[in-house]
């Protein structure tokens, strides 16, 4: 550990969410690099400013919203100088100067001065009883006023104004909201949604005067009312100005740092003086200033990375979403929803249910969404918006949301707000809503990753992710930090899956250590997430050249069996197309007897599963199965699993083609191949579809005139029918298309991304173009798959049962008689 004298000095101006989030991220990355001092004008630790509205409304206390107490600063050796305001930055001597003239030197400076409420330059603006809505001090004064006075006017019908008005109303005051325009929250809502909002606030007793311009604030010793531009007057004992915020960059500007609407920063959050960084509401990045909390977390991460000298992360700007923190009103808005000639709109309006949804599309992508009354799909639309997903294939059902498209998973619940605390959100890990809410408030969680780490909710199958995001938004009351647009492969790197795959090819990287070194991995040898991914990418990219790294394989793929909850394994021999013989069945029965295998079960993929096999018995079990001609069914693999078939024209009176024969042919050609995630196929002999081919990764439906090829279905976490790819006339053509399609998926899919997710991401048309329309490309894909199969089609069971591969894996290192 470096001692205090030799450490670099980091000074932070501003003890708010942006500054402290950056410090926290910095401590995670480089705990001992800096000696840190934080200056904050307010006499508190760091608190969650977005939760001031619930404090005003009496739903939370100030203690509830504290993020970092004074102890936290001490525990982390941070000097907190609360209640001290910096009045000058002396860039020549690299010092900051407090209002009392005290100087503190810095090596690196972080400005996080946030923003100030805009005070309208009206006569009477300084009268007692006229306040802004920005900090705990303002909230205290409003609460005080609400006990002594009756009538309040809130100037500003935006997010902040309405939350202030709602809070004061909850405190028992009569509140009138004065708004300059004729639509409430016009930056987030269109006129229809604004109207619905106004109606339901009026039903709660809020009064609106709009459009109306305030001309003067009246009163002598204390405010008594306001006068409007049309000459009318209205009495009030409290006037709250909530017309907006303005980045607070006076200090930076005085120090000669370049400012426009905020402190101008680069993609690494540096100002024009490289030693000085700035984050949060005080900055202007690529011409944008942000007044919401989500972008600030993304900025903090990048800034901390740079301060920690970890290099290349950049901030590329944020897309933001908004939710109004007024209990009982569901409202969601994201992106750009102003009408335009190049935009298309999908609108659903049901006045009686109080539901309004408007989705704005541009170039087949969602660019904006306004939801009122039913906001369950807000995070889902937002995800597609940020990912730039081509939504043309689901356009006709888009407005009905994720559940209607089968993306809601098994738990098609509606509003999170209406759920009781006991409602189970995460079915995999048995986590109910109350537990998530408690963890979010007690442990001060902000992100989906935080919730996953602390509660395990949404950390297994992920089908409840949308619900968990909603619980987050609902509990935090407002915008929360959504996952970044381009997801890094895992916490060991900032690179995305696509980056890694591209660089592996461009740089001819052929081992995991090479990839990690070249791409500057943050950990010495990765983790359980990235190593299997890298191993797959290398296997798929360099067939025959790359030596598979067994220690980077999940246990199932390392020992070619599926681990069970008690540490035993299950064994599934391959049954080509689901066809077996008396001899195979006899051999399976004998093996089960010989090794005391407790459970024998038929799987969903038309095979037999032997459950409860001890690890050390695996090679002997395999040897017996091999002797009867059976090989591994790869039931454990991110690879080709099964080809499920119906009996087809050989037996069935309806069969149009030999579906069983085709299934066997496909399986014999494709077995042993590794893929990003598991691949299950089905071949049905007629449109009655007894092999259930239309919910498989790839499905063939035989018809009298040929073979329909479908793909991108799922019947697990999500239920999704396949997409029709093409129709061909012969078995050989069918095989060629299916193999080419799988190869494209092998080359482009992200590790653990199922085929239907890949199709969603890349787009059906893109895939059809390259697999069906471009015949030359199809043949090239087919050839690449065939080439890679030369190295893949070795039965892993035989290698281990009789050729001694990995012998160490199955035997103990030692047996000790005593302990």
């Amino acid at each position: 550990m470096l001692d205090k004298v030799t450490k670099q000095k980091l000074v932070v101006i501003g003890n708010g969410m942006a500054g402290i989030r950056t410090v926290e991220a910095l401590l995670e990355r480089a705990p001992d690099l800096y000696d840190i001092t934080v200056f904050g004008s307010e006499p508190y630790g760091n608190y969650n400013r977005i939760l001031l509205s619930p404090v005003l409304a009496g739903e939370k206390t100030v203690d509830d919203i504290m993020l970092n107490t004074v102890d936290w600063y001490e525990d982390n050796n941070i000097t907190l100088r609360k209640g001290e305001t910096i009045s000058m930055i002396d860039r020549r001597t690299c010092e900051v100067v407090t209002a009392t003239g005290e100087r503190t030197p810095y090596d690196r400076l972080l400005i996080a001065t946030g923003s100030n409420p805009i005070v309208l330059p009206l006569p009477g603006k300084d009268l007692p009883g006229v306040i802004g809505f920005r900090d705990i001090y303002d909230v205290d004064r409003m609460i005080e006023a609400s006990t002594a006075y009756r009538n309040a006017i809130v100037i500003g019908g935006g997010l902040l104004g309405l939350e202030a008005a709602n809070g004061l109303m909850k405190r028992g005051m009569n509140v009138t909201v004065v708004h300059l325009l004729d639509t409430l929250m016009e930056r987030q809502l269109d006129p229809v949604a604004g109207g619905l909002l106004r109606k339901s606030l009026e039903e709660r007793g809020m009064v609106f005067k709009m459009p109306a311009q305030t001309q003067a604030i009246l009163g002598e010793d204390r405010v008594t009312g306001v006068r409007f531009a049309d000459g009318t007057e209205m009495a009030a004992d409290l006037v709250v100005m909530a017309v907006g915020i303005r980045p607070n960059f006076e200090l930076a500007k005085k120090a000669g740092l370049y400012c426009e609407r905020g402190i101008v920063v680069s993609d690494t959050m540096q100002t024009y003086d490289g030693r000085i960084y700035a984050v949060g509401e005080c900055v202007q990045h690529r011409r944008q200033v942000y007044g919401l909390v989500a972008p600030l977390f993304e900025q903090a991460k990048v800034c901390a990375n740079h301060l920690a000298m970890k290099g290349f992360a950049t901030y590329d700007g944020s897309v933001t979403s908004t939710k109004l923190k007024v209990t009982g009103i569901d409202l969601f808005s994201a992106g750009d929803f102003a009408p335009g000639p190049d935009k298309e709109e999908i609108v659903l309006q049901d006045a009686n249910r109080g539901v309004y949804k408007r989705i704005i599309l541009k170039d087949k992508k969602i660019v904006g969404a306004v939801l009122y009354g039913d906001t369950i799909d807000g995070p889902w639309y937002f995800q597609h918006l940020r990912d730039g997903t081509d939504v043309s294939h689901m356009r006709e059902r888009l407005v009905f949301g994720a559940a209607n498209l089968g993306e809601g998973g098994v738990s098609g619940q509606s509003s999170v707000a209406a759920m009781s605390d006991e409602t189970e959100i995460c079915g995999c890990n048995g986590v109910c809503k109350g537990a998530i809410v408690k963890a979010i408030s007690d442990k001060k969680l902000f992100t989906l990753d935080d919730v996953r780490a602390h509660t395990k909710a949404s950390s297994s199958c992920g089908s409840c992710t949308g619900l968990v995001e909603q619980v987050l938004a609902f509990t935090l009351g407002g915008d929360y930090s959504a996952a970044p647009k381009v997801k890094p492969l895992c916490k060991c790197t900032d690179h995305s899956h696509d980056d890694v795959r591209r660089v592996i090819i461009e740089q001819q990287l052929k081992s995991i250590p090479h990839v990690m070194r070249f791409m500057e991995w943050k950990t010495p040898n990765g983790c359980h997430s990235c190593r299997p991914a890298l191993n797959y990418y290398l296997v798929a990219t360099w067939p025959g050249e790359y030596r598979d790294d067994q220690q980077s394989r999940f246990i199932n793929e390392r020992v070619h069996a599926n681990i069970q909850k008690d540490g035993t394994y299950s064994v599934v021999p391959r049954m080509w197309g689901g066809v077996t013989t008396p001899n195979e069945l006899r051999a399976i029965a004998d093996v089960a007897d010989k090794f005391n295998i407790p459970t024998v079960k038929v799987t969903g993929g038309q095979r037999i599963d032997l459950l409860g096999v001890k690890k050390e018995d695996l090679p002997a079990v395999w040897a017996d199965l091999n002797d009867a001609g059976m090989v591994s069914g790869h039931a454990y693999a991110k690879g080709l699993r099964t080809v499920k078939t119906c009996v087809g024209s050989e037996w069935c009176r309806f069969g149009t083609q030999d579906s069983t024969g085709l299934g066997v042919k496909i399986e014999k050609f494709m077995w042993g191949s590794w893929t990003p995630a598991k691949v299950k196929l089905g071949v049905s002999g007629c449109p009655r579809n007894c092999a259930e081919a239309t919910c498989k990764d790839v499905g063939v439906v035989c018809v009298d005139s040929g073979y329909e090829i479908h793909f991108a279905g799922a019947a697990g976490l999500h239920i999704k029918g396949t997409e029709f790819l093409t129709k061909v006339e012969t078995e050989d053509e069918a095989l060629e298309v299916i193999v080419a399609l799988t190869q494209l998926y092998r080359e482009e899919g992200w590790y653990l991304e199922r085929m239907y997710k890949w199709c969603d991401r890349v787009g059906l048309e893109q895939i059809r173009k390259r697999v069906v329309d471009d015949v030359k490309n199809r043949k090239a894909l087919f050839e690449r798959f065939a080439h890679s199969q030369q190295f893949a089609q070795t039965d892993p069971w035989a290698e281990r049962a009789s050729r001694g591969v990995d012998r160490n894996e199955f035997a103990p290192l030692a047996e000790l008689e005593f302990a």
Partner: protein, 109 residues
């Protein structure tokens, strides 16, 4: 005094891997890191008893194969925010030979 038992050659354990030592008190997983340090833990994850020896080893940690709990090899502690601890046993390498010292359960006095 620490009783050291010879359990095998370092090269019998794969780098970034693990082997099991059977003892009357249950299986002990012996891990080898990339830098050839060895560590020994009871082969039971504090979460649901998963066999840690079957997990992926990274740096000085192992991820349980059942539910991805990450355990510190040196201490047996689960990495925060997960909680729990599995028993660690002293282990060392001398001239390519791995030695283990089994820590007894301390009887309640």
């Amino acid at each position: 005094m620490t009783q050291w038992i010879k359990i095998g050659a370092l090269t019998d354990i794969p780098r970034l891997g693990s082997r099991v030592v059977r003892t009357p008190g249950g299986n002990v997983a012996v891990f080898r890191t990339e830098k050839d340090d060895v560590f020994a833990l009871d082969d039971r994850c504090p979460h649901k008893g998963g066999p840690l020896s079957q997990g992926i080893v990274h740096n000085k940690r192992v991820t349980c194969p059942l539910h991805n709990f990450v355990i510190e090899l040196a201490t047996g502690e689960a990495v925060a925010p997960d909680e729990g601890c599995t028993r660690a046993h002293p282990a060392k390498v001398e001239n390519g030979v791995v030695w283990l010292s089994l820590r007894q359960t301390v009887p309640a006095s």
